[in-house]
Assembly symmetry: C2
Homo-oligomer: 223 residues x 2
DNA sequence: AGTATACAAGAACAGGTGTTCGGTGTCAAG
DNA sequence: CTTGACACCGAACACCTGTTCTTGTATACT
């Protein structure tokens, strides 16, 4: 059943609330809404807010100052709406740049070294899988070409204890050589499959392989 | 000259404000801070807020309700602090997924088709260069290997009118073949340099090449 | 004409909220 | 012992803010 459209005043109110929150870090008061929307009476503002609430566009906490909140529905209508800090922190991950990765050398991860200036910001929506325990490594050198990874690329890793066939991992072979490859456990041996489909896999005994982390995402920036 | 460290009460207050904003979408009142931090007097809360302001961790709008705001400095100290919606909208770009890119076929870009469900979320901090006029293309097939790009990778493109040597572009050759390569204008001919350093460049006359967009970033998600 | 609904408005009020005042206690320095 | 700085506190006050009341106008319907 279709609802009545919003009156012009109601649209103005929603837009004002949206903008006010973005600029001030807090919702407006009833009187501030009135002043901005040419409504001289707080009861008219209150009446319209009640209507917006009935339409599911607004939530109100009674009898507290600035007790307004736009709903998801209002956000969908007006786009670019305000989120709580939790939404931000959930969506925009700051992942520590923990070091470099070079083919042939073990990863040198800097434990507990969280440098915000060198953190990588990635949207959680771009990560398929869990987003805890993430760290970033920067690729040094051309030796990761078989993984379709360039010098300078950023590899988002996750510390894991269980690996499934088809995961891309950083695998340390014989304590000596790190490689990024898709891993398959074939019983008596481990198959490490290059990302480049024109290249052949390598096979190693399981005890020669240590999985140092799972690759969650790769980012190539342009200079 | 070193500052005195924060008292325990002051640290509690900052953490409470941070959490309160995240959960409620508005800053707390003086009395709410007092209740949460075991401070029975509004003047003690006020005193501590004045100290935090002097230390540059807090801003206050006088004589308005909930007139508190944590500063950038406080954010740096406590991490994961609240941002205004403008910060969010500036940092977290929603880039429309505009179509596919296949080597050998012109890009089929869907004009003005902005589908939020299929948008790509990318932090602006990860883009070197301008962040207007961006769109995303998904790679189909293995034919972009010379660009070190896999089937399924996401290429973030930007419409441009001027190209500089060393830019990676989507180049359409002879109205027939799209390729992703670094472009160099060498006077009488254009050099298109593969990203894979083991591969040779190709050289074409300038009039045979149309630049369809500049590559700003490449993202490889894992399944 | 009467009724119902939507929208509007001013005024009053109750309670929320920030600020100020006067005071106390602790600690370090002189 | 005195003084000053810092931290704390209850109380009072001024003002901010949300809610309610009463009244009015316009429109649609019976």
């Amino acid at each position: 059943m279709s609802e009545k459209p919003l009156s012009e005043r109601q649209q103005n109110i929603l837009e004002f609330i949206n903008e006010y929150v973005a600029e001030n870090g807090r919702p407006p008061t009833i009187r501030e809404i009135g002043a901005a929307c040419n409504i001289s009476s707080t009861s008219v503002v209150n009446y319209n807010l009640t209507r917006l609430k009935e339409k599911g566009l607004l939530e109100r906490d009674a009898e507290v100052s600035r007790g307004l909140r736009l709903t998801e529905k209002a956000r969908a209508v007006y786009g670019g709406l305000w989120q709580t800090a939790n939404d931000v922190m959930t969506n925009l991950l700051r992942i520590p740049m923990a070091g470099n990765i070079v083919a042939g050398e073990p990863i040198d991860v800097i434990e507990d070294a969280y440098d915000y200036d060198d953190a990588v910001e990635v949207s959680a929506s771009m990560i398929n899988g869990r987003t805890d325990d993430l760290y970033a490594l920067r690729v040094s050198g051309d030796s990761m070409i078989d993984a379709m990874v360039n010098d300078g690329d950023i590899v988002i890793m996750r510390s894991v204890h269980e690996i499934r066939d088809g995961d891309m991992v950083a695998a340390l072979i014989d304590d000596d050589t790190t490689t990024l490859k898709y891993i398959y456990n074939e019983g008596s041996q481990i198959r490490l499959q290059p990302a480049n489909p024109t290249m052949e896999p390598i096979y190693v005994e399981p005890e020669r392989v240590q999985v140092q982390g799972k690759v969650m995402m790769i980012v190539r920036q342009m200079p």
